[in-house]
Symmetry: C4
Subunit: 176 residues, 4 copies
Amino acid sequence: MTKGRLEAFSDGVLAIIITIMVLELKIPEGYTFEALKPLLHTLVSYVLSFIYIGIYWNNHHHLFQSVKQIKGNVLWHNMHLLFWLSLVPFVTGWIGEQQMKAFPVALYGVVLFMAAIAYTFLVRALVKVEGKDSVLAKSIGNDAKGFISLLFYMTGILLSIFIHPWFGYACYIILP
Amino acid sequence: MTKGRLEAFSDGVLAIIITIMVLELKIPEGYTFEALKPLLHTLVSYVLSFIYIGIYWNNHHHLFQSVKQIKGNVLWHNMHLLFWLSLVPFVTGWIGEQQMKAFPVALYGVVLFMAAIAYTFLVRALVKVEGKDSVLAKSIGNDAKGFISLLFYMTGILLSIFIHPWFGYACYIILP
Amino acid sequence: MTKGRLEAFSDGVLAIIITIMVLELKIPEGYTFEALKPLLHTLVSYVLSFIYIGIYWNNHHHLFQSVKQIKGNVLWHNMHLLFWLSLVPFVTGWIGEQQMKAFPVALYGVVLFMAAIAYTFLVRALVKVEGKDSVLAKSIGNDAKGFISLLFYMTGILLSIFIHPWFGYACYIILP
Amino acid sequence: MTKGRLEAFSDGVLAIIITIMVLELKIPEGYTFEALKPLLHTLVSYVLSFIYIGIYWNNHHHLFQSVKQIKGNVLWHNMHLLFWLSLVPFVTGWIGEQQMKAFPVALYGVVLFMAAIAYTFLVRALVKVEGKDSVLAKSIGNDAKGFISLLFYMTGILLSIFIHPWFGYACYIILP
């Protein structure tokens, strides 16, 4: 099975996810600088999510570049990843509108955590197809980077709930 | 006629359909776990529709992989399929917002039923172009799987109207 | 200049136009068949616009299939066509929400008229690049079909304003 | 690294940006010509933004046509450009809804200014990869055109704030 359409479909979904987030930037009612202020949180969370989706697109791009063939289950692992990323605009908008309260910030971490898990599964499914001696398997190496990400998300979730959402959010910002 | 642009256009439309559904997840007004609860039905119906569109993209991918050439009428059968799938976000949102009432759930079944019919027509049009001895015709075989799907949708529609929408919805969930 | 990216970009824009129209199908507040009734006009105008955009995508596909090379001005004629088509969701939604009043129906005709004009310019620009003896120039032949379309739109606009929007709308329906 | 997916992703994002702007054209409540009047500002700002995004797509197309290879940092410069362009629908809608007040018009200039800066960085990153004697480096030449654009945006921003938004907006219109 060739990888062309999987790449095209993923590009499409990621392009839409990254762009519809801007629809959460509701047009303010006034026309002064002050009218823009309540949007500040939404803008910050938009920028961060833009960077995250950008990172995922980048990684996806690099990942599939060293892939030659795919199998049916790769399509579903990819779909699983896109599912969690598709929830990013929703949690991004919620954080912005509620001005970084604990629960939405924790949920943002959960979505990022699940997306990272889905990405790990996708990588493993690809390595299985390509074989352990493939270029792909070597370029991944041990998955320390992925493990640290998961740890950061976990810390972010816990900090948001038990200490303060700002500390949790800081975790997500430091990571990239 | 080459199939490249038909695939690209279908990828685009399916990518948009699968992603705009998330716009129905309206941002809740509170910032607690309770504020998220009314969205539960919407989230469940979002997940199911995501899986259905995912299945259609997968099947579409497999179907066109064994196709070499297309003709003008294939473009229209494909458009017909995309039309019914484009109604999925609307019925998905309706089910979620009205918390699984009988009529919206039945209508969901109707849309899935019509999409399945459109898909069958698309397959037949492709088999006609490729010939009865083609790889495509053989890989389809007898269309038992398609027939069972239609039966399930019908049962789902009838159960929703005459018994209870939950039984109808269960039919759509069991199928994939 | 190769035509690949122009096709991809046009596919993207047309895929989005055809899909965002469904966002005008606002989720009804009730959950009965009656709650769906006010949407009937919107649904009808959605189906018609879906067919029109489908026709444009089809024609665009056929047109560029016989094209080998493009030039800078082709990009702009293509953009001009996409501009008018991008207004289709807006007028479609307006017709549906106002239940086929005279002015919105006339404006729908104006948008279709302008899109048809833009398409004619695009074809001419392509014929100029390809030469008068090219496959493209011969397959277009005399432009009787395009001329009749323009006549139909004109009649539709005039009928909507001076007689009744239903007659105008009928013109747009008969044409495809 | 090949450039195919970067082009496809950028096409997707630009196609979505150019099309979702039409969602800011809110359907008017009446059905007369008068009901359309309040939308005039939005329509004008939509047309201008459509032209700007069109220009960027055109330039992006020409730019990458003479590029053979890309590197990792090009992906990020491209993402940076897309980020600023993704804010165009937001400022376009704000200008339209507030009927060309000073601050929104100035902000529109800021977004265009930042996009132009991002584009310049993208070009430089590409020239670095291709080398100073490449086709690309020669076709860019000295960057007088880019410099004049930046000057125009600056003037537009200052005129909007200190004199009148109409003068500022005129700057953005003259430029293309």
